[in-house]
């Protein structure tokens, strides 16, 4: 089962990294996070697996909901190609990947599998309480900061509305000009036509 889930995770990661559409990218990342959660639960880390299932998917849904709001639709559609230096990026990433495999996989292959010790909640409570507190504060501060950064002020809303009305006016004027030009061309064509 590990290998099936691992292959699916790698496929989802490839989709997230290579997909040409932002919507597909977000879907692939969400699928990858859910698969990682399933892998962790199947490995025996139930609490971390449940958190991995819920938290990143929730954050991505929040980001997707924010971007689906009026005015951000083009951000989802705007997907420029890869950077000019992508071969270098690919080479560096592959090199670091090989280095990681060499330094970790080849060194830990000899260890034997056995049950881990204390429960996670005990460890969090007694051995890493400060880190737990810092992580909780970090998450709360991040959510608060994101709401502050992402909110639209009254003046911004007014400006957005004015810009939208200007865009609509220009569109209507353009349509009127096109209709007038078409009518003029039709009249001139009828006037010069042989009777």
């Amino acid at each position: 089962m590990f290998y099936v889930v691992a292959v699916l995770i790698v496929v989802a990661a490839l989709g997230a990294v290579l997909s040409p559409s932002t919507r597909l990218v977000l879907l692939a990342v969400m699928a990858g996070d859910i698969l990682v959660g399933i892998l962790l639960i199947a490995s025996g880390a139930y609490l971390v697996g449940a958190v991995a299932l819920v938290v990143p998917a929730g954050c991505l849904l929040a980001v997707a909901a924010l971007l689906r709001r009026n005015g951000y639709a083009a951000l989802l559609a705007d997907i420029p190609g890869r950077a000019a230096s992508w071969p270098l990026a690919a080479a560096v990433s592959a090199g670091i990947g090989v280095l990681l495999v060499w330094t970790t996989a080849t060194r830990v292959s000899g260890t034997s599998a056995s049950a881990a010790g204390q429960s996670l909640l005990t460890v969090l409570h007694y051995r890493t309480p400060i880190a737990l507190g810092v992580a909780a504060v970090l998450v709360v501060a991040a959510v608060g900061g994101a709401l502050m950064i992402g909110r639209t002020g009254n003046d911004e809303r007014l400006l957005d509305r004015a810009a939208e009305q200007r865009r609509l006016r220009e569109m209507r004027a353009q349509t009127r000009r096109a209709h007038r030009a078409a009518a003029r061309a039709q009249r001139e064509g009828r006037g010069s036509a042989p009777s």
Binding site: F2, A6, I9, V10, A13, L14, A16, V17, T22, V25, A28, G32, V36, L40, S43, A45, L47, V48, V51, A52, V55, P56, C59, L66, L67, L75, P80, G81, A83, W86, A89, A90, S93, A94, I96, G97, L100, T104, A105, V108, S109, T111, A113, S114, A116, G117, Q118, L120, T122, R127, T128, A131, A135, A136, A141, A142, G145, A146, L147, G150
Partner: protein, 104 residues
């Protein structure tokens, strides 16, 4: 699950390399953010894999580390998404190459 720590390490390395490639090669802010999320899942997989298949002498510190990594991932996603939206509102671009300090 019959996989040992080496298998988890290989999966983690692949995820890290793919995420790193996405972060450095994508020009769209949202796509780069998504790639960063892939990159962040690599230490989660490694920490849990080592903790669950390790020698047993260590407590579940790996799980705790994975939990903190997930908290950092959550913070990165929400703040990154908000910053991408803010930059978009100001400069109408999501292209990381076109963003300048003036946009921020």
């Amino acid at each position: 699950m019959s996989a040992g720590p080496a298998q988890y390490a290989v999966l983690s390395a692949i995820l890290f390399a793919l995420g790193l490639f996405g972060v450095t090669a994508r020009r769209n802010a949202v796509a780069a953010l998504a790639s960063l999320s892939v990159l962040f899942s690599a230490p989660v997989v490694a920490a849990v894999g080592f903790a669950e298949t390790g020698t047993g002498s260590l407590p579940r510190l790996g799980d705790a580390l994975a939990l903190f990594t997930l908290a950092a991932l959550c913070a990165e996603l929400v703040v990154g998404g908000a910053v991408a939206a803010l930059v978009w509102r100001r400069s109408e671009t999501a292209d990381l190459d076109e963003m300048t300090e003036a946009d921020l």
